[in-house]
Symmetry: C2
Subunit: 190 residues, 2 copies
């Protein structure tokens, strides 16, 4: 017998992403978002949901672009700060000592020190409720050499992305390898 926990956004895992955009004056902003995920393989797209009240919401609407900078264990405090403050009052890059680098592909900055960044152009805007969902087409993914494996893919154990538990508001790291996907389930084939 399962216990009802109510109509709440209790979903696992959720990501911890820093969404970076340009402000109207050309300065850079970053916010923290956990409501997002991949939403298409071809073209490769991801979705991230922001409240209309945020500075980043307006920035994306104007520039039609943003970057996703994957929050990692090493930058837990910085990405958390992005969610505690507003770019209307502070320069979050100056406060954290991080560097905003200009993307050459999309009209948005990325965070130089973060090991994995995804450059997106805006494909669709979907009004869901309190949150607006921005669907971004992934134009490129860029990674630091020291997190890339021998197949030229990010190694999740080297990247060490944060995992957010909604409502409880905990950040966890990634644990051990469990199994190879599209493989471990074959035992149920007749």
């Amino acid at each position: 017998m399962k216990k009802s926990l109510g109509a709440n956004p209790l979903v696992y895992p959720t990501p911890v992403w820093a969404i970076a955009t340009y402000n109207e004056d050309g300065s850079s902003n970053a916010m923290c978002a956990a409501w997002g995920g991949i939403c298409c393989s071809k073209p490769p797209c991801l979705a991230v949901s922001l409240r209309e009240a945020t500075l980043s919401h307006g920035n994306i609407m104007k520039r039609k672009a943003f970057t996703v900078n994957i929050g990692t264990e090493a930058f837990a405090a910085q990405v958390d700060y992005f969610g505690l403050s507003t770019g209307r009052n502070v320069d979050k890059f100056a406060a954290t000592g991080l560097t905003a680098s200009a993307s050459t592909l999309v009209d948005a900055p990325f965070i130089e020190e973060f090991p994995l960044i995804i450059e997106c152009t805006l494909q669709q805007v979907v009004e869901v409720g309190l949150h607006t969902q921005f669907i971004g087409e992934i134009m490129d993914v860029k990674a630091d050499e020291n997190i890339i494996d021998n197949q030229d893919l990010p190694d999740i154990e080297l990247l060490r992305p944060l995992i957010f538990s909604p409502v409880a508001r905990h950040y966890h790291g990634v644990g051990n390898f469990v199994a190879q996907a599209f493989e471990v389930g074959k035992k149920f084939r007749k």
Copy 2:
């Protein structure tokens, strides 16, 4: 200097969800999806993307409902099998020995043995490209008592949800607690 990895869906973490639906004849199906996330707080909504070619896609279009059953370490092989087979040819519940229980809230079954399930009604259908994104309003979240913490929330360390690495196709578990969100970043406040 970052290395370009191309326009690929390399995003971390991504979830491992079993999406359960009713077939036309009233039998139950489940598929595995990693392209999803929360997309709104009020009303609480999640998004999951499926290809039109899947049986589940048609099922959701017809019944306007689905459940998300969180894939966990204990059920890695079962949820993986859901992604290896099609409900057009096999009864996936019979093959894995899992139980399809009828939701009393939405027109979809859930997986009795999975410790955390989310019951959704269809709010919106968004065509993105190869994938269709289904936005589901969360009507209830139900959990086994043995994964609920003393604040009546799922404990991620007891739930042990899987984390999927796209392209590399690895399942990992959840690691150690890293920090309290909306707290650890306060040190950057002036």
